[in-house]
Structure formats: C-alpha cells, structure tokens
Symmetry: C3
Subunit: 335 residues, 3 copies
C-alpha cells in the first residue's frame, strides 16, 4: 500500500517537469491551430546538439567503465530489442485487419530507440538526483540496430517477392551500415569517439552540456506539435495501433526493468542504469527509425507506424514511463 | 532647465547601448551594400527565443502579481491601442493623396506592438537598473490585438464591397483568433502559461535568459538592415508616411506615459512599468502585424505601412523613445 | 637536438586538441559515408558568430593598441599576401600542364586568409596559455584583400581578352569593395567597429565568447566532411595542386614567422602575435575567397583551387601549421 502511494506521488511529481510541460505545450499549440513553427534547419541542429552531447558524455566517461559490467546490460539490450519485435508480431500482428508488414514496421519502431526520450530520461534522473553509469546511454545502439534489422528481415521472409528487385537489395549488413551512417547514430558515435579519445571536458561542459536542457525543451515542443497533428492519421488507420502504442512502451520497459534487475544483482548495474535501460526499451524511434523502415519495408503504411510512435508511443514513453520507472526504482531499490 | 539637461544627458547615455549600436550597424551594412545576411531560419528561431523568454519570465512572476494592480494598466493598454488607430485616421488619413485604407493599415501597425522593441526596452531598463512589475510585458496583447482589430473593422466599414467575398470573411472574432494563433503571440502566451504552471526557473535562467541579449543584438542587426533597405520604398509612396511614422511613436508613448502616471498614483504602477507601457505604445508591429494586415486590408499598399514601420517607426521607437521615456521617468519620478 | 625534441613533443601535444579532433572526426564521417549534415543556415550562422566574436574582441582591445606597434605587422601582412601569390605563379604556374589562370586562382586563395583557421589558432594559443596582442587577428584583411586583388589583376594582365566584356568589368577598386562587402569581412569589420565604439564587454563575454569554442568545434566538423568529399575532385585534376597545397601553407607561414621575428625585435611584436601572423599566412581562404575568385578569374577551374584549399591546404594549416608554429615559437622565444 505504501509502495503504491509512493509510486503515485513520485509519478505526480514528474508531471511537473519542464520537459513534459513543453511536450504538452506543443500539443496544446497544435490543438489550438497555432502557426508557430521551429524552422527545420534549427530542428536538425538541435537533434545534432543533443546527440553530440550524449555521445561526448558517454565517451568521456566510458574509459572508467568496468567492461565486465558493461557486457551483460549490452547483451540484455540486444535481447530486449529482438523480443520487442517478436512480441509485436504475435500481438499486434494477430489483430483483425492488421497487415503483417504494418505490424512488423510498427514493432520495429517500438523496439528501436528514441534519443530524445533518452535525453528526457537523463534530465529527469539528474533532477531526481539519481546517478547512473555514464556509459548507460551507450546501450542505445545495442537495442536500436538489432530491432530494426530483425523487423526488416522478418518482413522480407514473409514477403511474397511482390515488390521486386529494389526491395531485395537491402541485406542485413546493409541495414546495419545504413543505421550507423544515419545522422542520429553518426553524431552519437562520433561524439563517443571524440569524447573517448581527446576527453574535451571544457568544451563539453561549456557548450554542449550548457545548452542541453534548453534545446531539449524546444525539441519537446516540436514533438508535441508533431504528435498532435498525427493523431488524426492514426484514427484513420486503426484503433489497434493506438492500443499497441499505449501498451508496448510499458511492457517493453517492464521487461527491461526485470533484466536490469538481474544485472543489478549479478554485476552491480546501478538502479539509475536500470531506469535508463528501461526507458531505452520503452522509447520508440522518432528520428532514425522511420527512414530506415521506409527503405526496408516499403509496403508498410507509414501513417500507421509513424503516427503510432509519435502521437501515442512517445508521449506515453516520456509522460508515463519516465516517472513510472523512476518511481518503481524508488520502491524496488530503497536508498 | 535642469530637467531638460538631465533628459538630454540620459538620452545621450542610452545612445551608447549595444542594442542600438547593432541597429545602427545593420543600417550601416545595408547602406554600404554588404552581402551579410542572417539566414531566415535563424531569424525565426531568434524571434522564438526572445518571445519565449519574455513569456516565461512573465509567467514565472505573474503569480506574485496583485491582480487589482494589473487590471487598470491592462484597460489603459486597450484604450491606447484604439486611440492610436483613431488618431492615425484623423491625421494621416486627412493628408492629401493618402488613401483611407493605407492610413488605416499604417495606424493599425503603429497601434500594434513590437516584441523586439519591447525586448530592447527591457534590456535598457535592466542596464539603467530600473525595476518594473514582471507582468508589465504581458500588457503586450492587450494593446496589440484591439489595435489590429479596430483598424481592420474600420477599413471594412469604409469599404465599398469592391473586393468581394474573400475580404468579408475576416470577422472580428477571426482576427482575434488569428492574432492569438500567430507565431509571435503563440510563443509569448505559451511561455507565460508554462512559466505560470511549472515555473522552470533553472531552465529559464540557464538558457532563455542566458542567450537573450546576444540574440537580441543579432535581431537588431537584422532590423537595421531591413530598415535601410525599405527606406527607398517609402520615398516612392509619400513623405506623409515618413512624417507620421516619425511622430506617432512619440505621441502614442506620451499618451501612454500620461495614463501610466494615473495608474502610478491610483494603483501604484511602478515608474519602470510606466516606461514599459510607454514603449509598448511607442512601438509598432514588425513581425505579427504585417501578415495580419495583409490578410485583413488587402487593398492597402504594403510598401506604405511596412516601410513606414520598419524604416522609420521602429528606429524612432528604439533609438528615440526608449532613451526619451527613461529620461522622462527620471525627471517625473525622482528616486 | 633538444630543440627538435621539444618541437616534436609540442607538436604531438597539439594533435590532442578538440578542434583538430572535430576536423578529423568530420573527415572520418565523410569517409564512412555518414548522412550527418549540418544545415546550411546553421553553418552560415556559425560563421557569422565566429567572425563577429573575432571582430568584437579586436575592436574592444584595439583602443589600447600602440599604433606604432600595429603599423609594421600590417605592412608585413600586405607583403606576405603579395609574395604568396607571386611565389605560386613561379612555382605551381611553371609545372607541366598547369594552366596559368588555375595557378593564379590557387595561389590567390593560398595568399588569402581563413577566418576559421585563425579562430582555431586563437583557441590553440589560449589552451597553450600564450598571450598575443588583441589586435593581431585584425591583421586578417591586410593580407586577405591584397592577395585576392593581385591574383585577379595578374590573371587579367595575362588574359588575351577572350572572355569579353564581363570579365573586364572587375577593376581593382571593385575587388576591394566586393571583398569588404562580403559577408565574412562585413561581419568582422562591423564587429570591430561596434567593439571599438561601444565596447560591449558584457554582451561579448556572455554570448559571443561563451559560444565561440562550441561553434568552432561544429565548424571544424563541417570542414572535415567538406575536405574529404573534395579529395576526389582534386585527384581528377592534378597531383601538382596537391603538392603545392601541402607545401604552400608551411612556406608562407615560415616567411611570416621570419618577418614577425623582425617585428618582434624592432617594435616588440609579441611571440603570440608572431604565431598569429604565421597562421594567417599559412591559412587559405575557405569562405570569402572562392566566390571572389570565381567572379574575378572566371576561366579558372574551381575544382582545382577549391579542392586544393579545402581538402589539403586547410587541414595542413590547422593540423600541421598551428602546432608547428606554436612549437617553433617555444624554441625561438624561450620563456
């Protein structure tokens, strides 16, 4: 009973965060028909800044990481990404009138990771003064890439060869290479590399970290507007996608929390790290995933998987899962 | 005599401000034919940042505002906006060869408000260490929206039904809704709402306030270049617009100063607040006004009202009215 | 022997700088086929911010400059710019199959100056805690403009009147005016003017200087990607350009170092100032030069001079010359 109350109060507390306020503010603007728009060039620059910040931080601190500690969570991240795709196939894919390709593309997106949700989680943890291993955000690609690859490979296996030669050209290797070449993963990995090799602490603290929260607030605003404007797209397709998009983040997060708990017991993975792993699992790819899936599963309807992700999945991941898993950790790992 | 000297010296002092230096610098660049251009995406982002900063600040502090105190200045702001439009109609509108629509569009713009001029005034007050009610900038929409609506409604009443159905579709309600939906007022109001509800002081100080003066300096540069390049447009139309544009900011500001003084005596409106109200009145809309007027009074010549505003009105408001009303306040309200 | 060892160790040390890491990182991204791209609007804004910062700083401090001290380095800057062009003509221009116009355009670019290389040098000096006269970066236009003018005038003298009236319209005066009107020099000179007249120290430190290193890191990233993508262009033209582009920065820098040493002895030019002059000489114009040369020597092949500059010359100037001349100064001017 006490645990439930503590979970609820911690959840209510998270709802007060500026990050969430900007997300809801963006939805409100779109709902009121505001003409406010953040220029696309600025949007892409903000994404770059956020990913470079996350990468640099991971790289700067990864030297101190105990590799034995990192290995198990990384393996778990791969497992979670693959399980998320398979789960989507046997739940969403079995619902009436849902096409197999649409189900696979959607579950691929929900197995993949959102850097913005991850960033929001990191800010929430800082605010709650919960520490975590600096390399924890580096678990991102270990979940992201396998999920996208598995979804595309399963879609190809199921394909009847209808769409011809173009589609067949995307091999698993190419999907990996394409993912790594995407602007999102490029910035993240380059940041990690530079952070690891030259450890530019002054530059990091005086610029990338300095501007991080502010740029994140603007990104949340943009994502809120985007989410609202795509709600109608989703309504046209199917209520099943909405139901899946609302539940999948929580289910994936809980699986990750369980595996993270195992890593906590066996290799001392920190409670903050368990939360990070859970949020990575709960998040769904909003930047790098859609173009990869559009190229990899061309027969899937983008309005289904993109609308499910941006208008339901991401708000649930940020507004529900972040406070939920912080609260859960406070109950499971008492100070 | 002493008062005049003190006014002159305070005026000369204001001319040294970086804000004004960038405005004049922009004019200088344009006059020399410089190819320097700030990309449009950056310009729109800077506007967003400035308005969000003003809104957040207003929202964060508005909780402490005494509503009885706010009410009278807000009523005065509405009155000033309407008086400005009517004054323009009976002065500029009566001059030889000046079309009624052009006079109404121009006085609508001069009754409306410029967020950049307001921002410049706030920086000038900070530099002069003059405090004001944090909700004072929130008087902006109380003057802006009534002025635009009145100008458009009067133009419609005067219209002979020439331009047909399209024009008649803009009702007063639609104009209010359109103004609130404009990117300028959206950002301002959202900032106020978020500031009021979640009070994100850390985010505000560490990002929006941190970057405010710098972005303002760039905006001033852009506006200086713009002002210079439109001087020739104005010359092609009429000297009357130039004369109106030079005098209206000062006259509107003086009316506001008088009403603000009444609010000072009756509800204790601060001297800094009186200056803010005067500058809001002296300013003329450079961002949100022109598109509203273009839609609302399509028969008016944009080169008349836009050139009058950007090339004469705004420089006068920033370079003359800000130092003038600060100096006047120092004489009227001795410390 | 000790001197050589000290030069080598100091050189190795410079290779650890974040600035260089981002340049190499950009090359790496391009080599791996990354899709990361910084939007053009952001790129142009970053250039503006960097130049305005350099200009403001120069202007703020130039009041304290001893004009007698400034005069000699300024004359030397003019001399170096002209010597660089003439040297290019008698070396690169004499090589087999190299067209005279291409040689002149290339040596014009290598005589001209890169603001980004200059900015990188300033950061490197700060990191090495080497002071220099604040007006030293203002030597930039004294070398840049004469080099571009001389290259274009020599190309015209050599021209057989083939390309007709259009080409003949660019007189020396117009080239000077065009250079001063370019966005690069406009921002630099306006910054100096504003810095000199109103000395906005608070604005400078709280915004332009605050963001300088961060924006520079992003610019280095962009330039690294650019350099890599143009390597192939260069291969198609000639190995001679590559050889010239690799050697010219070092040779020009050494000439400047020698003349700077004379200024050190005669008017007390600081060791840091000698390094700045050497790097200005070693740098080659990447922003303002190419459009000027494209207009001034239309018959020259841009892929020769632009590829030589961005893909070989600039990396050599930043990665080799900056550490080289810092190390050389440590040997020549022992503390």
């Amino acid at each position: 009973m006490d645990a439930l109350l503590s979970l609820l109060s911690s959840f209510a507390n998270q709802l007060q965060s500026p990050t969430l306020a900007f997300l809801i503010g963006g939805m409100l603007l779109a709902a009121c028909g505001s003409k406010l728009a953040i220029p696309d060039a600025v949007y892409r620059f903000i994404i770059f800044m956020l990913l470079m910040k996350v990468g640099l931080n991971g790289g700067i601190e990864i030297r101190n990481a105990d590799l034995a500690q990192l290995a198990l969570p990384a393996v778990f991240a791969v497992v979670i990404g693959c399980v998320a795709v398979l789960l989507g196939l046997v739940t969403l894919g079995k619902l009436p009138n849902v096409k197999r390709e649409d189900a696979l593309a959607t579950s691929g997106l929900f197995g993949a990771v959102s850097a913005s949700t991850l960033a929001a989680a990191m800010v929430a943890l800082d605010e709650a003064e919960i520490t975590y291993e600096a390399w924890a955000p580096a678990l991102y690609p270990f979940m992201d890439i396998p999920a996208l690859i598995l979804a595309i490979v399963l879609a190809k296996l199921a394909g009847k060869g209808k769409s011809g030669s173009k589609q067949n050209q995307l091999t698993a290797k190419q999907i990996i290479v394409d993912s790594l070449r995407s602007s999102a993963l490029s910035a993240l990995l380059l940041g990690m590399l530079i952070g690891f090799v030259v450890q530019p602490v002054e530059l990091y603290e005086g610029f990338y970290e300095l501007l991080f929260r502010g740029f994140l607030s603007i990104l949340m605003l943009i994502m809120g507007m985007e989410a609202w404007s795509r709600l109608s797209e989703l309504r046209q397709v199917a209520q099943w996608f909405a139901a899946y998009a609302a539940l999948a983040p929580i289910v994936h997060g809980l699986i990750a929390f369980g595996l993270g708990y195992i890593a906590h017991i066996t290799v001392g993975f920190s409670p903050g790290g368990v939360i990070i792993l859970s949020i990575i699992a709960a998040s769904n790819s909003d930047i790098s995933g859609p173009p990869t899936l559009r190229a990899g599963i061309p027969s899937a309807n983008p309005s289904a998987y993109i609308a499910a992700s941006t208008s339901v999945g991401t708000p649930i991941a940020i507004a529900v899962c972040i406070p939920l898993f912080i609260a859960l950790a406070e109950v499971v790992f008492p100070a």
